[in-house]
């Protein structure tokens, strides 16, 4: 091998390594972009939470569980089960939860407002006392108000979603930075793809390096939901409330399904780039 051809081969190997590195960076950027987009479509979306709630019968379960808890308090405070059933029937948990979720995504208070609930409960108690001719001496204001406070505590415990209040603070603060990150990553991915495409003199090589990057992104994006699915983490959650358990399982199954969707998109693009590479390669060989 002559000195010139040796030098050319060394240069070509270095070039090839640079392109492989760029393919790796493309994989990384596409994976990070997938993570950001999954977060945008799930954790950062109030509609996603609401659809998980309605899809799992969350409102019915919450209503049932709240009713059970309130009946239990009723057994300690002289309230009949019928009163509890009638009272809970009047509570619209779809609206209540809707307001609670919206408050998170608009950056408002993450605390459940109990003022209206307490007024409604006190009103219902006074009606109950009158309808049943209960002696006012056996239903003192202080005892009723203590009962209303305890029921309101129960109401807050059922309406609020654990850890969501902690998450809520980050959601409103991280919304803009996440948007910026998505744009930066998208530009970066397009930039790297453009470098791989336009700086390669042979057309089949353009697609080869793109294909490496895309397959890498497919694998990395698919690994997370695959591991979670195989280990069965989601269904092993230690949650005693039926409503929260169902919501948790549905929420996280959908969350990881989005990873599959993005892995699918990258896989489709990988196949396309491979087909392009293959046809161009054949053409080059034939010529």
């Amino acid at each position: 091998m002559s000195h010139r051809s040796h030098k050319r081969s060394k240069k070509s190997r270095f070039k090839s390594l640079v392109y492989i590195f760029l393919s790796f960076v493309l994989s990384f950027v596409l994976f990070l972009l997938s993570v950001c987009l999954v977060l945008r479509l799930t954790v950062f979306s109030g509609d996603f939470m609401k659809s998980a709630m309605s899809g799992t019968g969350y409102y019915e379960f919450v209503s049932e569980e709240f009713s059970d808890g309130m009946k239990n308090l009723g057994h300690a405070s002289g309230l009949s089960d019928e009163f509890v059933d009638d009272f809970v029937k009047k509570l619209d948990f779809i609206e209540i939860e809707g307001e609670y979720i919206d408050a998170f995504y608009t950056g408002e208070s993450t605390l459940v407002n109990t003022t209206h609930f307490k007024q409604t409960m006190l009103g219902a108690l006074n009606d109950y006392i009158e309808e049943n001719n209960i002696d006012r001496e056996k239903a003192s204001e202080a005892n009723l108000s203590y009962l209303v406070d305890k029921v309101a505590e129960l109401y807050v415990a059922h309406v609020s979603i654990p850890f969501f209040s902690v998450l809520g603070n980050y959601i409103s603060k991280l919304d803009t930075p996440l948007r910026v990150t998505e744009i930066v990553l998208a530009i970066l991915a397009l930039g790297i793809a453009a470098i791989l495409y336009f700086t390669n003199e042979y057309k089949h090589r353009r697609y080869r390096y793109l294909c490496y990057g895309l397959i890498g992104a497919t694998l990395t994006t698919a690994v997370i939901p695959a591991v979670v699915g195989i280990m069965g983490f989601v269904s092993k959650a230690n949650i005693s409330s039926r409503s929260l358990y169902n919501l948790f399982v549905s929420y996280f199954n959908s969350f990881f399904n989005y990873f599959w969707i993005f892995a699918g998109i990258w896989a489709l693009l990988s196949v396309l780039s491979f087909v392009m590479f293959y046809t161009r390669f054949k053409k080059a060989v034939n010529n």
């Binding site: 300690a76 002289g78 694998l219 230690n238």
Partner: protein, 234 residues
Amino acid sequence: MHKHHSSHRTINGKNFVILPIIFCVLILGICTAVVYPSTYGLIAVSNLFFSGTGETKSSKYENIFVPVAEEEDVYDPDKPQTPRTVPISSIQYPVYGDLFGELIIEDCQIQDNMFFGDGDVQLNNGVGVYSGSFIPGYGRTILVAGHNNTYFNGLKYAKAGQKVKLRTSYGNYTYEITDVQVKLSTDKTAYDLLAEKENLIMYTCYPFDELGLTPYRCFVYAKFVSGPVIDKNS
């Protein structure tokens, strides 16, 4: 020369598999190295969180109560005798939520299922022994809760000297009420879970038959009279 030329004309398929796998391992390795140190605590906690079986709270409960004959361990003040002992290995120690006995106070018209644990399910179906206290015969404090408008409504008639019967699968117990007191629910002097002698404390919300809640509880104290002693060493 021909050989060299032909190698350029075949697709190196290995690269389409090996390189993406290397990329994947590297990316996940980098991500783990970056994320792991700051989320180490969270990962440790999540292991606990994801250790469930998928079972949620249910209104069902296990019934392990197989009553022994009523005449067994019956209290006879005229014939004081040494109580029989029951090896701990021979009894089925209840787990939280189990129905494991019956509580009877004839003078108060109380005859209730007795559960181990005092959660919603237990108190909606009877009275519950606080799981941080002990079972009858253990020689320590038995703290029993019940609702004042249902199963423990009869405690309003409780008076010193009345007999309380606890029936379990391993023996029948008798206690005698010594005192009735109304105290705040937050009053830690209302009960002593570390007491070294067998004693029964029943409590419920106070006042009775009124609408509303108060922070007060009615405590009924009873001393051990008769019943088999659990031998903790056998």
